[in-house]
Symmetry: C2
């Protein structure tokens, strides 16, 4: 790496930067770094060390440095990173320099909350339209936006330049909605419905299932409970099984 320059960063003019293709794991952490950086900026920090930023973002400092190095590294050895510069850099890479328009489909329980969630606006997104299939809900105004019928999607999608679709419908309706979104050119979908969506190649789908998170926690609770119930030294019988026999059931009789 010789002296590099911002690859098309905000200040720079000219050449399309050909975003470095970051590891997916890195991409998933960048927003967290960004949030931490905004906090630091608000509290008056102008520079921050990898150690400081890492702890603010809840990760390991080596990981953070490697992540940042992937996008061209703007640190100064012996000093740290310039907070403002890094914010610009990450926002650029994440494509947040343009405020993307989001269409939210499904204005039920969750949809209502999402429509009113100001975390979207503050992170560079604009909820541009609300849709629902239920005529009873069409016309309702939420947070200054009127709920439209899903059939209006094609027209509105063009008018508002919708870039991202959010599905907050019941599971049975989700696939049809996804198809409609794809049909109007949406290539990024955030799915809150508990089901798998099938979409053509080139369309990105991310899924958030609130119940799944709880179930994962439940597993760990269960595991912790079974660990505390088991005497530590007892039988090595059940743990040290290499590959052959599958599990067993010696330990019985521990009332809960």
């Amino acid at each position: 790496m010789s002296q590099h320059r911002h690859p098309g960063a905000p200040g720079r003019a000219g050449a399309v930067p050909a975003l470095p293709d970051l590891p997916e794991a890195t991409v998933a952490r960048l927003p967290e770094y960004l949030r931490a950086l905004h906090n630091l900026a608000e509290t008056g920090h102008e520079t921050v060390s990898s150690e400081g930023l890492a702890s603010a973002a809840g990760v390991n400092s080596a990981k953070l440095r490697k992540d940042l190095s992937h996008l061209g590294s703007y640190g100064t050895r012996g000093v740290g990173y310039d907070v403002a510069l890094l914010v610009d850099q990450i926002e650029y890479v994440l494509g947040l320099t343009q405020r993307r328009a989001v269409a939210l489909v499904g204005v039920g329980n969750l949809g209502h909350a999402l429509a009113g969630y100001d975390g979207f606006a503050s992170r560079g997104f604009r909820i541009a339209a609300l849709f629902d299939a239920d005529p009873a809900r069409v016309g309702e105004e939420i947070n200054g936006l009127v709920v439209r019928h899903i059939d209006e999607l094609p027209r509105v999608a063009v008018e508002e330049a919708i870039a991202i679709g959010v599905i907050a419908t019941p599971a049975p309706a989700a696939q049809a909605v996804a198809d409609q979104l794809v049909a109007v050119g949406v290539t990024s979908i955030l799915n809150f419905a508990p089901c798998v969506l099938s979409v053509p190649e080139g369309v990105d789908v991310r899924k958030v299932d609130l119940a799944i998170e709880l179930q994962i926690l439940s597993f760990h609770e269960h595991r912790k409970a079974s660990l505390t119930a088991l005497p530590a030294t007892g039988g090595s019988a059940l743990t040290a099984l290499p590959g052959g026999l599958a599990v067993t059931d010696p330990q019985e009789a521990i009332g809960t």
Copy 2:
């Protein structure tokens, strides 16, 4: 390989079977398998092949088989998996055989939605109490539950045997709430606030940040846009965009 038995599966009496320590990635997929299995059961399937279940869950069949093999393998070669048996097995491993009580803290926009989300109840969780720090919200009834003041947490946590805490407060309040939850013995926390929580060892925290998901999608949108713009070999940057969506890129089309 030899004749195995359900390691404490539903049929058995209150044994604590020493859960096999599953890979974290596997644990994260089990709930998805479970959901798919429930769907299959409702549509009358009694058995399912790894291929069928895999596609219903949106994963690769080899991965699915390996995942299931980790928890002791209940398939029949040449036939497939018994749906009902597998449901029991996964529910047992995930600790869903007991209905865990959830405390929800923060009854704002998102909290309201979560309190009314029936996906929790249907997956084996019971929202047992709602809390908020704002006196104006205390006393409100949501979905049959009365919002209590956060100071009542210690008493209620015991009464209701709270197992999991869900934080849906603004970010600045989240750490204090987490501390209070930990103080009353909660060891699993689902955090919706956009901030890092520090908790003592032994406490599990999972974070869900809706805005982060959007930012990840935004990155891919940005990347896709820069890709379609690049091969254009000079000239007009945005020639053939499908769907007529004007995905202009003010940032990366700047001439000198």
